[in-house]
């Protein structure tokens, strides 16, 4: 009596296994497609990346020059504070841009979607 049942159960289990395999394969390709479709900030047109670089650079220059100007006010010296501050600000701006570029490059394939 149990004989006709047993092979049937085995069949259903192997069917489940097979289904599981197909499901895994589908999910893998689906996830790969999803990961490809998510636009990271770097890919989303040059505008966003350009705005970011510009903002980072300008922020560095502005803050550097501003700090230099404050040093000028505090010491009452000729415009050397502003001058040196702006120079250092340019360097800081470049540093910001380099950091932003590293960030964008690292995020080329975001680990968990954009």
């Amino acid at each position: 009596m149990s004989d006709p049942n047993k092979p049937k159960r085995d069949a259903s289990i192997s069917e489940l296994d097979e289904f599981e395999q197909r499901l895994q394969a589908r999910r893998a390709t689906h996830q790969a497609q999803n990961a490809k479709r998510e636009p990271s900030e770097a890919e989303r047109g040059g505008l966003a990346a350009g705005l970011r670089y510009g903002g980072e650079f300008a922020a560095g220059v502005l803050i550097g020059a501003g700090l230099g100007f404050l040093v000028d006010l505090a010491t009452g010296a000729p415009p050397w504070g502003l001058f040196i501050g702006a120079m250092l600000g340019f360097a800081a701006g470049v540093r910001n841009v380099v950091r932003a570029a590293q960030d964008l490059n690292a995020k080329g394939s975001p680990p968990d979607g954009a």
Partner: protein, 250 residues
């Protein structure tokens, strides 16, 4: 007046002016929409977590997905110990996302297109990073200004540059959100204004107006993407800065 693309950003007072000493605490349309954004995100999360089912419904899934999203963001940028800042980052993300999304409604005010709002948020992050960094690491926090592997003779310059770079963070942090929202809304208004003025000059104009109309529709979709993306960018930059407070010296 109706076609002035920057008219939408004008602050209008609501009710009586409230002056507390030197402070002007008058309620404005900007404050109103900040209150609305906070209320919307709180209400949404309270409703969606009120019936906690094992198999989540739509609202509950949305709340869980946003939780996972922010938690993953913190884990991947600031590590697992960054999760103590989860409430802070989630609040920032939720508030900015809601404020951006509310701004997408016609005739609604976009609070995140006000530099004073975004810079207040960015400065909050800035001072939390400094405060927590000093609280946790003491003087070790100063290592954040000293990159490893720099020869000793140029170290003073590098440290100066790093300090300036550090101070410039809230500037770029706030300006990015502000500029994106401002530029997007002005662009939308300008193209929508083209539709109205072209359609006013007769049949040819009506035909021609379909081009900016199409552009407006496309830009609206793009603005929804930007509204989400800028909230995400603000939150992830917050995580990156918090990472410095948690683990200075890279």
């Amino acid at each position: 007046m109706a076609k002035d693309p920057t008219h939408q950003f004008q602050i209008q007072t609501i009710g009586e002016p409230i002056l507390v000493g030197p402070l002007d605490l008058t309620f404005t349309n900007s404050s109103l929409f900040m209150v609305l954004a906070s209320a919307a995100i709180i209400l949404l999360l309270m409703v969606s977590t009120s019936r906690r089912a094992l198999v989540p419904g739509r609202m509950q899934s949305m709340a869980e997905i946003s939780y996972e999203f922010v938690a993953d963001m913190i884990r991947s940028t600031a590590g697992s110990d960054g999760l103590r800042f989860f409430p802070f980052v989630f609040t920032l993300f939720g508030f900015i996302l809601m404020a951006n999304m509310l701004g997408m409604f016609p005739y609604f005010f976009t609070t995140t297109a006000q530099i004073v709002v975004t810079s207040a948020l960015a400065l909050l992050v800035f001072f939390i990073v400094i405060g927590y960094g000093v609280f946790k690491n003491g003087f070790g926090f100063l290592r954040v200004f000293v990159p490893s592997g720099v020869p000793i003779y140029i170290l003073p310059f590098v440290v100066l540059i790093e300090v300036i770079s550090f101070i410039s963070r809230p500037v770029s942090h706030s300006v990015r959100l502000f500029a994106n929202m401002l530029a997007g809304h002005i662009l939308l208004k300008v193209f929508a204004g083209f539709v109205a003025s072209m359609a006013g000059i007769g049949l040819v104009g009506v035909l021609g107006a379909s081009l900016p109309l199409f552009m407006t529709v496309a830009l609206t979709a793009l603005e929804f993407l930007v509204a989400f993306l800028q909230a995400y960018v603000f939150a992830i930059l917050t995580c990156i800065y918090l990472n410095d407070a948690l683990h200075p010296g890279h």
